[in-house]
């Protein structure tokens, strides 16, 4: 491989990364706007309506404000780690997008270990939180980061077990193959055989992104803003950006794992099937993801914050046993080929257990 080819290939990959990240950042900006508007309407308020027509330019104004603000390093803080923490938090949440397929062929890294990679990326984001809390030299920040670390470590186990279920059902760790395994109709999607796992994955996802009602790490009424209480300006914006990017990621992954990803929901229904054939798969995926994003915002407007012992109980004593139980049920489901989800993968098709 000569040098020029290497450079062009590298530039092409960088261009692809930009094509994922730039819309993502824009989506994050307008997710914050959607959240403020939606919660506003749910609480009989109007929400932001001053900047631009109907407040449409509010996120832009927020970004400009955050960019102009000074990044303050508290006295007694470990300066290197303090400035490193937001980067450590945002890097994995962006890196995870490398394996997310947006359509049958539209994926940056078509790797065979995609599922594991996602789990690894979400698990190392916790360093940003821990280091931010420790390096700030502030009690509130430290308490927030400890809460966050214990919460993420606890819910990661339930999430990992849920992903084992997805991997069993899909028969692959490649996200594209998992979606293709759900091909058929809306009833072929994994939300039916994996229903308990879907619920657990979704709730663990909300907990992992530190969203309400699992927002103890930044519980405003108790510890001001938790682990990022000492951050201002762009450093704070990075935390904010990463949290919303994670929300969108969890929503897209739920759509991919359980709701057929880019597959047409009207597939297999006469007339509607043909009538919606022109819609690109990416649109379906984004619509499904937008619904889960809406659910996250809805959750925040509806439920009060969990108590700490309730969070731990839910993660360890409810979610982990339920997922393990459902993995056993799923094993029988696949091997006995109940229904139409796992055709050709049971004992009967393989000619007996080897």
């Amino acid at each position: 491989m000569d040098f020029m080819q290497l450079v062009t290939e590298g530039l092409w990959i960088v261009a692809k990364i930009a094509m994922i990240l730039l819309p993502l950042v824009l989506a994050v900006a307008y997710t914050t706007y959607a959240e403020r508007k939606l919660i506003g309407y749910m609480q009989m308020r109007i929400g932001p309506n001053r900047v631009g027509p109907k407040g449409w330019l509010q996120p832009i104004a927020d970004v400009v404000k955050l960019l102009m603000k000074e990044v303050i390093v508290p006295s007694g803080a470990n300066k290197t780690l303090f400035l490193l923490a937001p980067i450590l938090f945002i890097a994995p949440s962006f890196a995870a997008w490398a394996v997310v397929p947006f359509d049958a062929e539209l994926v940056l890294a078509d790797t065979n270990a995609g599922l594991l990679y996602l789990l690894a990326m979400t698990s190392i984001a916790v360093y940003g939180v821990i280091i931010a809390g420790w390096a700030s030299n502030s009690r509130y920040a430290l308490i927030g980061s400890l809460r966050s670390a214990s919460q993420i470590v606890s819910y990661e186990i339930a999430m990992g077990f849920a992903l084992v279920g997805v991997l069993m059902a899909g028969g692959s760790m490649n996200l594209g193959d998992i979606v293709e395994a759900q091909n058929g109709s809306a009833l072929h999607w994994f939300w039916i055989p994996l229903f308990p796992i879907l619920v657990i994955y979704w709730i663990s996802g909300v907990a992992e992104t530190n969203r309400a009602p699992f927002d103890l790490p930044e519980g405003e009424s108790e510890i001001v803003a938790g682990f990022h209480v000492e951050y201002a300006g762009m450093a704070f914006a990075l935390f904010f950006l990463a949290e919303y990017a994670n929300m969108i990621l969890i929503s897209i992954l739920t759509a991919l794992f359980f709701f057929g990803g880019w597959l047409n929901p009207f597939q297999g229904i006469p007339y509607l099937d043909v009538a919606t054939d022109w819609v690109p798969g990416t649109i379906w995926l984004l619509l499904k993801a937008a619904w889960f994003l809406f659910m996250m915002i809805w959750l925040r407007a509806t439920f009060p914050r969990y108590r700490y012992d309730q969070i731990m109980r839910l993660g360890w004593k409810v979610f982990i046993p339920v997922t393990v139980f459902w993995l056993i049920v799923l094993t029988f489901w696949i091997k006995l080929e109940w229904g139409w989800w796992f055709d050709g993968r049971g004992i009967a098709s393989l000619g007996g257990a080897s």
Binding site: M1, A113, L116, A120, S123, A149, M173
Partner: protein, 214 residues
């Protein structure tokens, strides 16, 4: 010199620098972070060997879980550096001796005559359809089935042992019973009383009896 060699030297250098950092950095939290970096770059080196499953598992298990708990503990420690440095000169000869012994032992095992590039063949490049995960699963559940299961049982025993060692069975503390909390009915906590609205004081009680609106 191709790009893989460059990447290899890059991550090797990071691994070595981070490993030296673990034992030379003064702040214990920074030492743990150096160890995390060493694990991470080692995982990148494994990726170069096309062992993607092992590499990602290393990140997932060691970086994502074990080191987080480790960092957790170290953050809570209040290390007194002055007390730690006490008797440094006195213990130095012994430390050097142990260190040299350990280095010698490790060097003897991985010396050039055993692990030289002519002794260990370069791993063959696998073809396009090869899945590292599938191959590993196949080996683990066929050839290495018993060692794998025995390792699992040993880990289970270790978990039970750790729990039984730390479990003190205290029942005298005040706790919350979630089951009881869930079974609470609205009627037990909330009493809805129908009350007539308050009347201005100037009105007589007679008006209230007949429900006059004045």
């Amino acid at each position: 010199m191709n790009i893989e060699t460059l990447v290899f030297y890059f991550f090797s250098a990071i691994t070595i620098i981070a490993a030296i950092g673990v034992i030379s950095v003064k702040n214990s939290v920074q030492a743990v972070l150096c160890l995390v970096l060493a694990f991470f770059s080692a995982a990148a080196l494994w990726l170069l060997l096309e062992a993607e499953f092992l590499a990602i598992t290393l990140v997932l298990v060691y970086v994502g879980a074990v080191m987080v708990l480790f960092l957790f503990v170290v953050m809570m420690l209040d290390v007194d550096f002055a007390a730690m440095k006490q008797g440094f000169a006195k213990q130095l000869p012994l430390g050097l001796l142990v260190g040299a012994g350990l280095f010698g032992a490790i060097y003897w095992v991985i010396r050039f005559e055993v692990f030289g590039s002519d002794k260990v063949p370069e791993p063959a490049k696998s073809d396009q359809g090869y899945s590292n995960v599938e191959e590993l699963g196949r080996l683990l559940y066929s050839e290495y089935f018993y060692p794998f299961e025995i390792a699992g049982v040993i880990l289970l025993v270790a978990i039970i042992a750790a729990i039984s060692l730390t479990f003190r069975g205290r029942r005298d503390r005040k706790g919350q019973s979630v089951r009881e909390q869930h079974q609470v009915l609205k009627e037990e906590r909330l009493k809805i009383v129908s009350m007539e609205s308050e009347k201005p004081i100037s009105n007589s009680n007679v008006n209230r009896e007949v429900g006059d609106a004045s």
